[in-house]
Every structure is written in structure tokens, then in C-alpha cells.
Point group: none
Chain length 279, copies 2
């Protein structure tokens, strides 16, 4: 087991990812966050999802306190570069499009998007400077603050229990942004594996197994043998075996049949002596 390639990207994918997300990751704007710890966990969520620009409007605690840095868990850089503003209007002054993350529905005439739709919208605005407003832990954003945003963003959650921690809201919105930036893995169901064995190798295994199943008496009912064989082959086929795994199975069959017995043949045809042991 090795730990390198940590993520499902190759080098080329990663280069593409960097190029795409460096374009214009949205700024995260926390409005009057109450706890340094929440600013720290927000920074961590931003780092996880490729966001970098943290803006703090009148924060109530120090975002470089020991507690905040501990909560950031390695995302110190984001905290160190965070900029403090006195008013929301100042924090969004240089931005072209602003989204407001809200947990409660407002009576406002304003576009409303799910986090996923908002992520697609952000990517459609390539080249513009974007930002997302997140409100106070307890009270969210005021209507005045929301009025500065172009679009309201909601995270669709269980309607019976939709209250989320600040950093978790940032994580979900950032996660959606990152998924939209990284188009690769979404549709992919990558098989984490080597090349499957070619069919001749597989058929060699089928024949070896079936021969031994006849000899030992498992396959004895002449009438049922053909359908049994189809069933057994289908099962093994489905496992998408690699060559090494086919060797392992050869070895298992041989050893189950002849291991530590007097009638063990000198050598099974086509099977290496120590078949099945990993290299």
C-alpha cells in the first residue's frame, strides 16, 4: 500500500484544475462572526475547497488567536491574509457579483439558487470578481445586507432540521464550487485497479476449476453441469479479475484440492509452483 496519488487526479488533471480554479475563486465574506474558532474552521473549509480570499466584517473575536489557528488546522495562510472591513458595503466594493447564503427564506424579489446552481452560475461568470456573504452564527444576514447581493443561495437540506454551523455552510458552498471547477471526477466511476486479465487467461482458470470440480465430485449431475458452469463463470466474470488474482485463484484451487495430500501431482499444468503468492 502506498500513499502517493492521494486524490483521483493525475498530474495533467491537477494542472488543469489549478488553471481553472485560479481564474476567480469567490471571496468568502463573514459578517460579524462571533467566534474565532468558527473563523478558523471556515478557513479550513476554504482551504479544502480551493477558496482563498477571506473577508471579515466587524469580527467579534481575533481571527489569529490560538483557538482560531488550532481550528484552522493548517489553513493559517488564509487567516493571515484575511482582511477586516467595518461594513458589508466596503467588503463587497470591488466585486462584480455577490451571493448571499441564507438559511431562512426571505420575502424578497431576488433570484434564489441552490448551492449547486450557484456554483454553475459562478463558473458562467468567468473573469468577474465574485463573493459570497455568510451571516452571523445566530441571526444570519439582515435584509439590508442581502439587498447588496445579486442572488440568494440556499443549501437544500432536511426541512425538519436545516440549521448548519457557519463553517459547514461555507464547506458545502465551497464544495459545490470546487466540483464545478473540477469537472473530471464527477461522472467517473474509476475502478481503482490494474488491467483485468484477458479472456484467454480467464478461460484457463474456468477450465482448471471445472476440471477439478468434476474430479472432486462437485459437478456430478450430468444434466445440471452445463447450467452450473454458466453460473460459476458468470460469478467469476463479474469480479473483473486481474492476472495476479487469476494466479491466486489457480493456486487456491490446487491447494484446496491437493494441499498436503499424498495424491498431489508434481505440478499442475500451466500453473507456476508457487502460484497465487503475491510477488
Amino acid at each position: 500500500m502506498t500513499d502517493q496519488p492521494k486524490r483521483p487526479f493525475g498530474v495533467a488533471d491537477k494542472a488543469r484544475l489549478v488553471a481553472k480554479t485560479a481564474q476567480n475563486p469567490p471571496a468568502v465574506i463573514l459578517v460579524e462572526p462571533q467566534l474565532g474558532e468558527n473563523i478558523g474552521t471556515t478557513a479550513r473549509a476554504m482551504m479544502n475547497t480551493g477558496l482563498e480570499d477571506l473577508r471579515l466584517v466587524d469580527p467579534k473575536q481575533d481571527w489569529l488567536s490560538e483557538k482560531a489557528l488550532a481550528a484552522a488546522s493548517g489553513a493559517d495562510r488564509i487567516l493571515e491574509r484575511a482582511v477586516k472591513y467595518n461594513r458589508v458595503a466596503d467588503a463587497v466594493a470591488d466585486l462584480h457579483t455577490v451571493y448571499a447564503s441564507t438559511a431562512r427564506r426571505r420575502e424578497m424579489v431576488k433570484p434564489l439558487m441552490s448551492a449547486r446552481a450557484a456554483a454553475a452560475d459562478m463558473h458562467a461568470r468567468g473573469g468577474l470578481k465574485l463573493g459570497i456573504l455568510f451571516g452571523r452564527e445566530r441571526d444570519g444576514l439582515t435584509n439590508d445586507e442581502i439587498a447588496l447581493a445579486n442572488t440568494i443561495v440556499e443549501v437544500p437540506l432536511n426541512p425538519e432540521h436545516s440549521s448548519m454551523n457557519l463553517a459547514q455552510a461555507v464547506l458545502i458552498v465551497g464544495y459545490e464550487w470546487f466540483q464545478a471547477a473540477y469537472e473530471g471526477p464527477q461522472e467517473m466511476v474509476t475502478l481503482n485497479r490494474a488491467v483485468p486479465a484477458s479472456k484467454d487467461v480467464l478461460i484457463g482458470l474456468f477450465e482448471h476449476l471445472e476440471r477439478e470440480l468434476v474430479i472432486c465430485g462437485f459437478l456430478r449431475n450430468e444434466e445440471k453441469i452445463p447450467s452450473m458452469i454458466v453460473n460459476i463463470r458468470n460469478m467469476l466474470q463479474r469480479a473483473d479479475l486481474t492476472e495476479q488474482e487469476v494466479r491466486t485463484l489457480h493456486g487456491m484451487v490446487t491447494e484446496l484440492r491437493y494441499g498436503r495430500r499424498d495424491d498431489r501431482p508434481k505440478r499442475q499444468p500451466g500453473v507456476k509452483s508457487n502460484a497465487g503468492e503475491p510477488d
Copy 2:
């Protein structure tokens, strides 16, 4: 500003949502969680995303402590109904399909899906009992534990900083499950198959096979046995075996080992006399 309709669903949507998600939300299985607080925040993330069945394998702290309940922030019900198990094998015994959430890439021959692809996969398996394994805060899951899963799930994140808190991993995987439930009918990927065997049935086969492989001498190199077992389990796991197929394999192992021999035991424990012959 009013607070009612909290979420972007109408009544009809909500009814549909409830009907759909109640079908089979996956169980969340935490393996040796270290901190009661993390179990609490996990419960909150589950509540947010419509998951209900929390299973704890050998938790290191009380999940009903004051700290855990405070962290759950209203998701007490999930903590109160959580069930404790001693081993992962027991926690997954009644499930048909198990996903393993991992942060590090493993060299294992097993399907790998993004959280989003896994959510679609879960919904395609309507009616089956599903579960997702989450590992220890510090070390994740062992290879033995992952070998009990059908599929590895990874959350695509910034490759430079992909470490997430336990509850955040649960939140993202649950969020994707909930989005797939909420978006309405998915493109169904119908697998041409019967119901796969539940994990206890499969584990019974693993144990029978491994016992015989030790007796016959195939598994003889003490040092290699653990990794050989992981490889063998992964191969068989991948085949998505039905109960009938598991019976067939029990029969094959028994007959290969003892068929037409003097030392054949009267009966193999747990295996019917004519095991493996189709009805």
C-alpha cells in the same frame, strides 16, 4: 421578513421527498470514533441530510455525554437510537451494499466513486440495505475493514489540503445523498441482478474459505496472510454475489477440499449437505 416556508420545497415536493428518502437512507457506521463531540456533530450532519441510522463500532467515548449531546445541536434522537457494535463485521452484517469513505488512495482492486457518483449508485440500489463506513479521526479505516466494502468513496477536494473533520466527511456524503433524493428521479442504472447476499452471509463464506485455505496450506506464510485475505475478500466482494451463489461457493470449497476422500467430515458447519446444487 417571515420565517415560514423555510426551504425551497412546496408541500408536494416535501411529501415526495419524504417518500423518497424514507425508502432506504444508508446507515452511517463510525469505526472507533475517538471523541464524543465528533459523534455529536456527525449526528447533526446526519439530521441535516436526512440520514437516521447511526452505528458505532467500539467508540472510545460516550456518545450520550453532555458534550456529545451539545455538539449534536438538536439531533439527540439519532444519538439515542445509535447502536454499538464490537466489530465492523457485526455492524455491516444485515447490509447488502457497503461504501467505505477514505481520504487516502489505497492500492486495492475495488470500485472507486466520488461522493456524487456514490449517491447516484445508492439511489440505483433502491430497496437494498446500504451503509457507509467512516474511519478513525486520525488513521481512517484499515485495509481489512475496507475489504468488507463494495466500493470506495472519495470526496474530491483540493489535493493540497484534503484532510476533513469526521463530521464534515459525513456531511458531504450525506449532502450528496440528499441532493440525489431531492432532485427527483435519477437516471436508473439497472443492474441485471438478484438481491446480493447480506454481509453476514458473505463474511460466513470468507471465513469458511479462509479456514480451509489455512488447513490445506495455501495460506501458510504468516506474514503474508493478512494481505492475502484482503485480496481474496476484495475479489469476491466485487462479484456482488447472491445468496445462491454464496451457497454454490461454500459447496465448491467443501467438495474441492473433501470430495470423495476418506477424511471428509460428516458435515461442514453452517453448510447444508447438498450445498451449492441449484434447486
